[in-house]
């Protein structure tokens, strides 16, 4: 309720141009700001820290929508910060020329890869992975090779790379592992695909939780939620020896924000435990810094695979071609 009041107040004050409070508007995606997501806790912590400011989240559908909104708004965007662009959207977001360097010390970062981007600052990360139902599948495949050779009943639920971030993750993952042979691999993989859904929610809840197939494309961190909140070990992620494609979610500030110091304060705050402690179970992702004892114990039981990445530029240059390749392999 307090959260609602704060928001209502924020709305009321932001409509008055000369509000006494400094309002920081952050574009993000909607599961981040939900009641049980990390948003409310982070907002309270940041507002307690800055004193006279008001943090206001504007929730959009997903990372792609944040980018889309920036594009449409151009100069004079209503946002001071954007939070939720993943690595694969960075190149396109950078090209808009609307973002400013963060100038935050990246020493606290604890990512599986080195990070030296001066515009985008990571706040969490995770690997794409196939989550399996251990009641249907006792021995999950240990690699793509094994997956392709697995018996027929090992069926998969995937997401479409044209409409979902996880779907795009798999596209990049397979491209990274197989390169030019990706077309063949997709053709082989498609033999065991039960469904390619439009969104992760659809795949995970309408199909996977209904027991329709033993494996679903998701995140390596998904089992953490089941183990910590639902207290079941039934759903686990399969670790592939070829490595897993990495997703890093980042935030960035806009160049024309009227509150550049406050925006930088927020980015600095992002790499502190006060922000990061809400990430593991709130966003079900790995925190971007070492949380020590504050990291829920279930995170020690997650898989720890090797990370695969393309540079943001490679992704932005090739995305269309790779999607076309996937489409050709799938429609064939």
């Amino acid at each position: 309720m307090r959260y609602l009041l704060v928001l209502a107040l924020g709305l009321a004050t932001s409509s008055v141009a000369s509000a006494a409070e400094r309002t920081l508007t952050v574009y993000t995606y909607d599961s981040f700001v939900s009641e049980w997501g990390p948003g409310p806790g982070i907002e309270a912590a940041f507002e307690a820290r800055c004193g006279d400011c008001d943090l206001r989240f504007v929730a959009l559908d997903g990372g792609v929508d944040i980018l889309q909104r920036l594009r449409l708004e151009g100069e004079g965007s209503g946002a001071d910060l954007v939070l939720g662009l993943d690595m694969n959207l960075m190149a396109e977001a950078r090209q808009l020329g609307l973002l400013a360097p963060h100038r935050v010390d990246t020493a606290p970062l604890a990512l599986p890869i080195d990070w030296n981007d001066d515009t985008f600052l990571p706040y969490d990360w995770g690997h794409f992975a196939f989550v399996y139902d251990s009641e249907q599948l006792e021995e999950p495949p240990g690699s793509f090779r094994e997956l392709l050779e697995a018996p027929e009943e090992v069926q998969l639920i995937l997401q479409d790379p044209r409409t979902s971030v996880t779907g795009q993750g798999l596209l990049l993952w397979i491209k990274h592992v197989y390169g030019d042979a990706a077309l063949e691999v997709w053709a082989q993989l498609n033999e065991r695909v039960l469904s390619v859904t439009n969104s992760w929610s659809q795949a995970y809840f309408s199909l996977f939780m209904n027991g329709e197939a033993p494996m679903v494309l998701s995140y390596a961190t998904s089992p953490a939620y089941h183990m910590a909140v639902e207290e079941t070990d039934r759903y686990q992620a399969a670790e592939f020896e070829e490595g897993h494609y990495l997703q890093v979610e980042t935030a960035a500030m806009l160049a024309d924000t009227p509150h550049p110091e406050l925006a930088r304060d927020f980015l600095t705050f992002m790499l502190t435990p006060d922000f990061q402690r809400h990430i593991p179970l709130g966003n079900v992702m790995n925190p971007a810094i070492e949380l020590g004892d504050e990291l829920p114990a279930v995170f020690d039981r997650l898989i720890d695979p090797e990370s695969l990445t393309f540079t943001p530029e490679q992704v932005s240059e090739n995305r269309r071609a790779w999607i076309r390749e996937w489409l050709n392999a799938s429609v064939r």
């Binding site: 939900s34 469904s195 995970y204 996937w326």
Partner: protein, 573 residues
Amino acid sequence: MAQRQRALSTPPRRPRWASLSRWPPSLGIAALTAVAGLGLGSLGALLWQARELHPAMLWQSPWLAAVLRFTLWQATLSTLLAVGLAVPVALALARRPRFPGRALLLRAMELSLVLPTLIGLFGLVAVHGRRGWAAPLWEWLLGSESGYLYGLSGIVLAHVFYNLPLSARLMLQALESAPAAHWRLAAQLGLTRRTLWRTLEWPRLAPLLPRLAALVFTLCFTSFAIVMTLGGGPRSSTLEVALYQALKFDHDLALAALLALTQLVICLSLWLLALSRGGAPSLVVGQVTLPLQGRWHRRDAVGASRLTDAVWLTALAALLLPPLLAVVAAGLTGLPDLPRSASLWPAAARSLVMALGAGLGALALAVALLTGSRWLAACGRRWAALLMEAGGQLILVIPALVLGTGLFLLLRPTLGSGWQGYALVVLVNAFMALPFAMQVVRGALPGLSAPEQRLAEQFGIRGRARLRWLVWPRLRRPLALALAYAMTLSLGDFSVIALFGSPSAPTLPMLLYQQLGGYRWQGAAATALLLMALVVLIFALLGWLTRRPPRYPFTRYPHEERHARVSRSDVSL
């Protein structure tokens, strides 16, 4: 006689429609302007932003052509099955005005339309999936695993699940609005099933069918999540997927606008065709619509029809109830956590208020467009009338994504946060519910029959009095049903509200998607349960409020008697 008539009706010899004021056309035009402005304006904004357009892309890309073919094929098949099978179901329901569970079945029919796709799909998968409730039965019958949920059969099944109940419900409404005297006469004459079909049932359904088919076709043509999830891969895809990719990932506004235009042209030309086919409204003008209540003995209700009706109604229940039950069962497991969710009740209240706004808006627009169209038709401007009615369907055929992006481009400098966003959502929802509202109200709007008209003229009943005593009584039940449909559609809508971002607190469907995004599956199912309960409540409340005709000073005569008296005096004129 003629002299007397002239003396009574002043001024004399006015054309039929001119006796009404000028407001039908002007209101109709205002509504049409609003709809077209919103729909075409947003599309126009996209086109303007896109600068150059290459229509050749459509047929040069073999993939797009294949998508278009598949979309047309699945939509046609779904429509034929959904509407075709709805006819015997509606007839059976009309023939059996009372059997245990009838009310429940009707409520369930109203539910399926507004179930968010994600939840509807969950229910369908729980029943028809590879490990669903029906799987053992299937295995026992065929000896092999059931795989019919994935592929064209699954898509069609889901579309029939969503659209057959809607079609049957609207047909039932049309059947029940047949004048009571007709049913009495049919009972007295002991008409057989076939004669009844020819003389009473078909004339009621025929004017409804083309529009209904066009509506269902549009819904199936633009269906997105169902086709992708159950299609089993990108082989079965819809135009909307291509559009989504173009608009979101590739930021190719030109291609997006082109795809939207393609969809617009296909669906709107279908609408125009449907409207011109089913143009003539039913000539049988209803008495005050009464539920049949089984007051008249129907000869066709005995014998073999007992069996066939039982089969149809069981089939309907088998199609409809298990998936809904699956959702309810899932929701019940999440129910204990429900009161602890702080945002749930505010979200429910917010959703209800917005739904009421959107519902009333849709109703007002529907009445304005229909009276305007009727007026134009009466003046002999048939095409203008058709266009006005087709205009009401415009928002439904413009993809929500295009609408949202276009509106955003149009309104950007002023599109603030907070209540403006909500107001816009209410507005767009009202437009989206418009085709449904029009579908329901339309049959009830033809106005008065010629004899009644003459009588009213003779007694000088016009203006407010005519509206109050002659028009309103026969409009209130359809209006209530239309309001219920429009409200629940808006209640379950997620697509529009997601477009503008949620600056503050969520609505009920948004909450549901947030819960899913945060793995709270059971909470989401409980939210869906609450959503369904609200839908049932709205339909039940509005149905209860209009359950019987209002009391008039002369209600000491039974209604059918009154009709008979009118007819007799009619003859004497």
